[in-house]
């Protein structure tokens, strides 16, 4: 039996850090873009217009009922036939579309949970529908949906490991390479798991802090 030797991690630390940085970069960009798509999707899904509602529905159902891995492959290789997308851009697009669909549903539920009296009061002082949404409904909805939203962001960080299949040099891709060279599978994958844990758990702690701060008005 082989002895465990974690020193291999020190040797490859610069590469691991590059991978970690790439994972963070992709995750942050996808969280931001995915949230924007989620707000857009939720506005479509709650719109008065049948066309917008249908677009929102098709988006959500299409994404939720196909595997993320296939979406990544489709965007990189499939759309790659028509557009020259870098692995990085394709990854961010895929992850944003994917998480955006789930965020759409979370935000929609949040919007619907706000009592209609809030909307009526805002309309009665002369606000436009857009002001009502932006100033009254969304701030309250987002506060209410922070826990499921945090869960979605954490899922996104973990799912980002799938983009290693299109040769994005993220944490997972770097780990695969190190294992191929050193055969230190246990040490490397254990350490990589720990890095994902720190990222995800750190985010969840940060959201918990934010929740506490927003609880002021409860």
């Amino acid at each position: 039996m082989q002895h465990l030797d974690f020193s291999v991690l020190i040797e490859y630390l610069p590469a691991i850090m590059d991978g970690l940085f790439m994972t963070i970069k992709i995750s942050v960009m996808s969280i931001i873009l995915g949230s924007i798509m989620g707000v857009g999707g939720a506005l479509c899904r709650t719109s008065k217009s049948l066309l917008l509602r249908s677009i929102g529905n098709i988006y959500v159902e299409w994404i939720r009922n196909t595997p993320l891995l296939i979406q990544i492959l489709f965007i990189y290789f499939g759309l790659g036939v028509f557009f020259n997308l870098s692995p990085m851009v394709a990854s961010v697009l895929a992850l944003s579309f994917f998480s955006g669909a789930y965020i759409t549903e979370i935000i929609r539920a949040g919007i619907r949970s706000i009592h209609r009296g809030q909307r009526e009061a805002a309309l009665s002082i002369g606000m436009t529908e857009w002001q009502v949404m932006r100033l009254i409904i969304l701030p309250q909805a987002i506060k209410r949906i922070l826990p499921p939203l945090a869960g979605q962001f954490i899922t996104l960080i973990k799912d980002s490991s799938l983009v290693s299949v299109i040769a994005v040099t993220d944490l997972t891709y770097v780990a695969k390479n190190i294992v191929t060279i050193t055969f230190r599978a246990f040490e490397v994958w254990f350490a990589i798991a720990a890095f994902y844990f720190i990222l995800s758990f750190g985010l969840s702690l940060a959201v918990r802090k934010l929740e506490e701060r927003l609880a002021e008005s409860d």
Partner: protein, 242 residues
């Protein structure tokens, strides 16, 4: 000031307002009473367009409220509304609840809006609550903030939709006092309420509604002592008994 002409409103096959006409003059206080489901709240809500109408017209000054989106916004800027459930913005403190309209709808500076808000909080007796969130206030206090929020827009007309119905009995008078104060200042008001004593004291005219029609309208003394309509008399005696 306000003129409703032959207004019709349905929810599906249910007719809520049937050919309702009502005029409210400048400075007048009109109190609408009637059994629940009589359409009185719906009538009030057609004035600022929170309810659409199927027929007839609603005018404020000289323009038709329901004619266009622009008119709707204009109507809402001329009217202030106070709701049964207060509907304060839960994520904003008292001061921000009152300033949000002046700042975002009337494009006033924050300083100017806060000056207006502070004066109004004094008027409704809550100057010390400026930085408190609605969830920390009693129902009566929330309703007084809601009145301040509506007044901050300098409305020409105030609409009250059962402003005391969700309040504990001991808090009703503090809210009614504020509304009476507005009446003394000459504010034009339409008040839907179950408070008969208030109607008797403050109303220039009492309007009695039942099943989507106005059965009777008269000055309060005349209305309460000598209702003309047989059905008004019957319903009134039932309401006044408890």
């Amino acid at each position: 000031m306000i003129k409703l002409k032959n207004v019709y409103k349905n929810y599906g096959s249910l007719e809520v307002l049937k050919d309702v006409s009502l005029t409210v003059a400048q400075g007048e206080v009109v109190v609408i009473i009637g059994p629940s489901g009589s359409g009185k709240s719906t009538l009030l809500r057609t004035i600022n367009g929170l309810e659409t109408i199927e027929g007839g017209e609603v005018c404020i000054d000289d323009f038709l409220v329901h004619a266009s989106e622009a008119n709707l916004y204009k109507a809402r800027q001329l009217t202030g509304m106070v709701f049964q459930q207060f509907n304060l913005f839960n994520h904003k403190n008292v001061l921000d609840n009152v300033t949000i309209g002046p700042i975002h709808v009337q494009n006033k500076s924050r300083a100017e809006a806060e000056e207006i808000a502070k004066a109004l909080l004094i008027k409704v007796g809550l100057p010390e609550k400026a930085f408190v969130y609605p969830s920390k206030l009693s129902g009566g206090q929330q309703q007084r903030v809601a009145i301040a929020r509506a007044l901050a827009m300098h409305p020409q007309v105030m609409l009250f939709d059962e402003p005391t119905s969700a309040l504990d009995p001991e808090m009703i008078s503090e809210v009614l006092e504020v509304i009476k104060g507005l009446a003394r200042d000459g504010m034009t008001m339409v008040v839907v309420t179950h408070e008969m004593g208030f109607a008797r004291e403050v109303a220039d005219r009492v309007v009695f509604m039942d099943e989507g029609v106005i059965l009777e309208e008269a000055p309060p003394q005349e209305f309460f002592s000598n209702p003309k309509n047989e059905r008004t008399r019957m319903l009134l005696s039932r309401i006044l008994k408890h």
